[in-house]
């Protein structure tokens, strides 16, 4: 009978040390998350007053003063993220369809696949620079559409990758059955392949939206500023991440408090989107075969 005590002392110590180290690693990663969430809630919640969500109100320009509405930034975040999603998700799904249904292993598809990987790694600030040079300079105005374009550029490769993975999970028998019934290729894709994978595609898209909503660097470069709620894609606009970044740098307690309030709002938006995405993924997933 082999027993633990049969091991030499050195081997036993090494084994226990590893066990302890692995638990410590887990704790080290969880503690910051817990602390961030704790501070965001504790310092952000007192900021959630009716004035904070007053859609007729103005962002305050004075960092020393308390109060002011955060509604313009909430609207800016929802507007830019929403428009970015409307641009990036259809294009991303189409690109994924090309990669998985048409291109397959052709050299062109391989190149596109590799470049999607490369595009995922492009730093977000570079996307901001690109949109500034290609779009903002062209129409000579900082605006929400530019922010949406930058976010769309960031979302596109993520959506392509996640959708492609979902399309790959659709069993080939379904496609063959549809083709055997005489349906054309596009018909098969639209009425058989997409419906079978739509939940996975949606959950991937929602996760991409959640990431984009929290992006700061590109929008800071291209969005400008507004004091009042601006539902238009044109004219300056602000977003929650921009407000957090701006206020966090100030030495005044009032500004810092506003940053915490905006952070709580942003975290709630991002978390809700993430959780909905995960819920859809878990509830309606195609079982991997």
């Amino acid at each position: 009978m082999l027993r633990r005590s049969a091991l030499s002392r050195g081997r036993r110590i090494a084994d226990v040390a590893l066990r302890v180290a692995v638990w410590l690693c887990l704790i080290v990663a969880v503690v910051p998350l817990a602390l961030v969430v704790y501070f965001v809630v504790v310092r952000g919640l007192p900021q959630w007053t009716p004035e904070f969500f007053d859609f007729a109100g103005r962002l305050t320009t004075r960092y020393q003063a308390e109060g002011g509405s955060m509604a313009p930034a909430i609207v800016g975040t929802l507007l830019t993220t929403g428009v970015a999603a409307l641009i990036a998700i259809p294009l991303g799904v189409l690109g994924a369809i090309y990669l998985n249904e048409y291109g397959k292993n052709s050299p062109l598809a391989r190149v596109i696949w590799m470049m999607t990987d490369v595009m995922t790694g492009v730093p977000s600030i570079v996307m901001g620079l690109f949109v500034f040079l290609a779009f903002v300079l062209l129409i000579d105005e900082l605006n929400a559409l530019a922010g949406a374009l930058a976010l769309a550029c960031l979302m596109l490769p993520v959506v392509i990758r996640s959708s492609e993975e979902m399309l790959r999970l659709v069993p080939d028998e379904l496609r063959q059955a549809s083709l055997a019934l005489g349906a054309r290729r596009w018909r098969t894709i639209v009425s058989v392949v997409l419906p079978a994978s739509i939940s996975g595609i949606m959950s991937g898209a929602l996760l991409a939206i959640a990431r984009a909503a929290g992006e700061t660097a590109p929008v800071v470069l291209v969005m400008g500023v507004t004091r009042r709620v601006n539902w238009s894609l044109f004219g300056g606009n602000v977003s929650l991440p921009m407000q957090i970044y701006d206020n966090a740098q100030q030495p005044y307690a009032a500004a810092q408090a506003r940053a915490w309030g905006a952070a709580l709002t942003l975290v709630v938006i991002v978390l809700v989107t993430t959780l909905v995405g995960r819920f859809i993924a878990a509830r309606f997933a195609i079982r991997e075969r």
């Binding site: 082999l2 638990w23 990663a29 595009m119 790694g121 040079l133």
Partner: protein, 311 residues
């Protein structure tokens, strides 16, 4: 018809990447001409002020201090994040009780979901002041030791290379963990069982069967994390302190390529100021693409080898 529509969407990726390169290089050209390619990369002074003012006779744009800052912060981040990530991945694949696995994965995913600006806010208002105390204690302890004394030099405040490195480490842990976990999961069960059957302890099994098999994949994961760390802008901009200096002192303040761009964008200085900032973006773009490409290369090589092993 539909086929061409999907192809167009696919080609859009190539088009965007090409346009990024064209637009940024074109805009950065005047600044690069102003300094020369070598001068731009190796100049350590960044003085975008008015030549009639108290500054030097002409604006100077050297990116070296920011390249240095980018490399130092991302290296700190990777050095901190890698052991922790590997530990968590081992926990998930080898140690975790079945009912703990799901919740732990969810927690790691949530860590990835927190926006970087929120980490930055927390780092500068909460973590920074705590770390400052720790820096002072460390400097007091090691300040007199020859080499360590200059690396852990006198703290200049809560905003430092180290603070930025630590916060970026927290942000890249989820990426490295998730890829490392997938790599560990590909280790053939037979290998692990064989090691255990020979009387190996859990640690010996991991060292003898899991690590050799997954080394390549883990290296790739680390490099992907490195690529992410280099591009991180906002959290770093808030925590690194905005000083243009090259110093061994990790407790000193500095700056990185992306952070400098975002800090100066509103006021880039006299021409070619904005051009020079875009030039920093080009340098960052090229560095991250090279790092990411190498990472993918390593991962795919490792994948091929792993497939061969499991067949």
């Amino acid at each position: 018809m539909f086929r061409w529509l999907t192809l167009a969407a696919g080609l859009l990726v190539l088009a965007v990447l090409a346009l990024i390169l064209v637009f940024t290089v074109k805009e950065a050209w005047p600044a690069i001409q102003h300094e020369g390619v070598w001068g731009f990369l190796t100049g350590d002074r960044w003085v975008p002020n008015d030549p009639d003012g108290p500054g030097p006779a002409r604006p100077m744009y050297g990116a070296l201090a920011f390249i240095y800052g980018t490399v130092v912060t991302s290296l700190i981040a990777v050095i901190i994040a890698v052991p922790i990530s590997v530990g968590i991945a081992l926990f998930l694949t080898e140690f975790a009780p079945r009912r703990l696995r799901g919740p732990v994965i969810t927690v790691i995913d949530l860590l990835a979901a927190v926006p970087s600006v929120v980490f930055g806010l927390w780092a500068i208002l909460v973590l920074g002041p705590w770390l400052f105390d720790a820096y002072q204690a460390t400097h007091g302890l090691l300040g007199a030791v020859p080499v360590l004394g200059s690396i852990f030099g006198p703290p200049q405040g809560p905003r430092a290379f180290m603070t930025a490195g630590i916060i970026v480490a927290i942000m890249i842990i989820p990426i490295i963990t998730s890829i490392t976990r997938e790599v560990f999961a590909t280790v053939p069960n037979a290998d692990k069982q064989a090691a255990l059957a020979l009387g190996a302890t859990r640690w010996e099994m991991i060292r003898g069967a899991v690590f050799p098999h997954s080394f390549g994949g883990v290296v790739g994961a680390v490099m992907l994390g490195l690529g992410r760390a280099m591009g991180e802008t906002i959290a770093v901009s808030l925590t690194i302190g905005a000083a243009t200096q090259i110093t061994a002192n990790l407790f000193g303040s500095g700056n990185t390529l992306p952070a400098r761009i975002v800090q100066n964008w509103g006021d880039p200085g006299i021409p070619p100021g904005r051009s020079a900032l875009v030039g920093l973006g080009v340098v960052l773009f090229l560095i991250t693409i090279i790092v990411n490409y190498l990472a993918r290369l390593v991962v795919s090589r490792a994948e091929i080898r792993m497939k061969g092993a499991s067949a």
